[in-house]
Symmetry: C2
C-alpha cells in the first residue's frame, strides 16, 4: 500500500508533474484528477455520499471508470479527497481569512454570518452547508470522515476564539466575556440556522435567529462609559 493522506493512488507522481508545470497549466493526469474531485464534490453535495452515483460523477467529469480507479482506490477515498479539497477552501474564504486579522471580532463575526444569509447562492439555501450535510450523514458510519469533519469544526472554533481573544485584548470585547461560549453559540446557531432554512424556506425565521444572535453578541461588548 503506497497511499498517502489524501487517499489517492497516483499523487506522488502527480505532484512531481505539477511541480514541473510552472506555467499553471495542469498535466493531463492532474486535470482528470481535478475534474473528478470537482464532479465528486458536486454530486455528493447534491445527493449525499452514499447516494452519490459514480456513473454521474464520471459523466460530469467526462472520464471513465478506469481513470477514476487509477486515481483513487475506491469511492470512499474519492469522497474524502473531494470533501477535503472543497470544504477547506470554503472555510478559509468565508471565516479564516476575514477573522485572521480583524480588530473588531464581534462585528466581523456578525458580518460573516450576514454574508451567508444575505449573499448566499441558490445551492446554499437548497442544499445547506456541505460540512453539516456530511456531518449528519457520515459521522455515525465512517470514522475517517468524522475525524476530518471534527477537525474542521475545531479549526473553525479556534479561528473564532483567537479573533475574540484579540478583541478582548484591544478592548472591543468585554473583559469578562467567555470567548469559548461565544464561539460555541456562533457555530451552533449558524449551523442550525442554515439547516433549518433548508426545510422551512422561511427567511424571516433565519433573520430572527440572526438578529437574536447579534443582540447576544452586542451584550459581549464593553460597557460604554
Amino acid at each position: 500500500m503506497s497511499q498517502n493522506l489524501n487517499g489517492d493512488r497516483a499523487h506522488s507522481a502527480a505532484l512531481k508533474k505539477s511541480a514541473k508545470e510552472a506555467d499553471g497549466r495542469l498535466a493531463r493526469g492532474d486535470k482528470t484528477r481535478a475534474a473528478l474531485l470537482d464532479a465528486a464534490f458536486d454530486e455528493i453535495y447534491e445527493h449525499g455520499f452514499q447516494s452519490a452515483s459514480l456513473a454521474n460523477i464520471l459523466r460530469a467529469a467526462d472520464c471513465t471508470k478506469g481513470s477514476l480507479y487509477h486515481h483513487f482506490p475506491d469511492k470512499h477515498a474519492l469522497g474524502l479527497a473531494a470533501a477535503r479539497a472543497n470544504i477547506g477552501d470554503h472555510f478559509q474564504r468565508m471565516w479564516f481569512t476575514p477573522l485572521a486579522t480583524t480588530e473588531d471580532p464581534l462585528t466581523d463575526i456578525a458580518n460573516c454570518i450576514q454574508q451567508y444569509i444575505d449573499n448566499g447562492d441558490e445551492r446554499l439555501f437548497r442544499l445547506g452547508c456541505p460540512l453539516q450535510n456530511l456531518s449528519q450523514e457520515m459521522s455515525p458510519i465512517d470514522e475517517e470522515f468524522r475525524l476530518f469533519l471534527a477537525e474542521t469544526f475545531a479549526n473553525w472554533r479556534s479561528a473564532l476564539t483567537s479573533a475574540l481573544s484579540r478583541g478582548v485584548d484591544n478592548g472591543t470585547v468585554c473583559q469578562t466575556a467567555n470567548i469559548n461560549q461565544i464561539a460555541a453559540l456562533v457555530i451552533a446557531s449558524h449551523q442550525g440556522n442554515i439547516g433549518t432554512l433548508k426545510a422551512t424556506r422561511d427567511f424571516s425565521l433565519a433573520h430572527d435567529a440572526m438578529a437574536a444572535l447579534f443582540s447576544y453578541l452586542n451584550t459581549q461588548r464593553p460597557a460604554s462609559t
Copy 2:
C-alpha cells in the same frame, strides 16, 4: 386511489378493527403495520431514507415484502408514515407538553434543552435529531417530506412563542423582548448544537453553546427592580 393522508392502503379497515379491540391489543394487521413503522423509523434513523434498505426493515419487523406492499404503496409512503408517527410523538413529549402550561417559559425552555444534552440517549449523540437528519437529506429532493418537516418546525416555533407570550403577560419575560427572535435562536442553536455534537463528540463545546444560550435567555428577563 383510496389512499388517506397517512399514505397507506389498508388503514380504513385497520381503523375499523382497532376500534373494536377496546382491550388495547392490536389486531393482526395493525400489529404488522406498527412493527413496520417502528422498523422503518429505526432503519431510516440509522442510515437515512435513501440508504434505508427494505430488506433490513422487513427483517427487523419480521415481515415479508407482500405484507409491506399491502400496507404501504411504496418506500416513500412508508418512510413518511414512520416519520410522522415518531417525530410527532417526540416533539409532543419533549417540547409541546412541557411548554403548554409553563408559567416561566425562559426557565422551562432552558430545561428542555438541558434535558437533551444531559439525559440524551446514545442514539441522540451518535445519530442526532431525526427531524434534522430528514431535513438535511430529504428537503431538497422531496416536497412531501419537506412540507411535513417545515410544519413540524412551525409547530415547534409556535409552541415556543406562545409560551414566551404567556411569560410576557405574567411578567417572567421582559415586556420589550422580541419573542420571535428568542424562539428562532432557541431552535437554531439547539439544532446546530445536536448536529455539531455528532461529528465533534465534544461535550464541552455543546455545554458552552448551551451556557451562552442560557445567558442570552436570562437577558430577556425583566430587570429586577
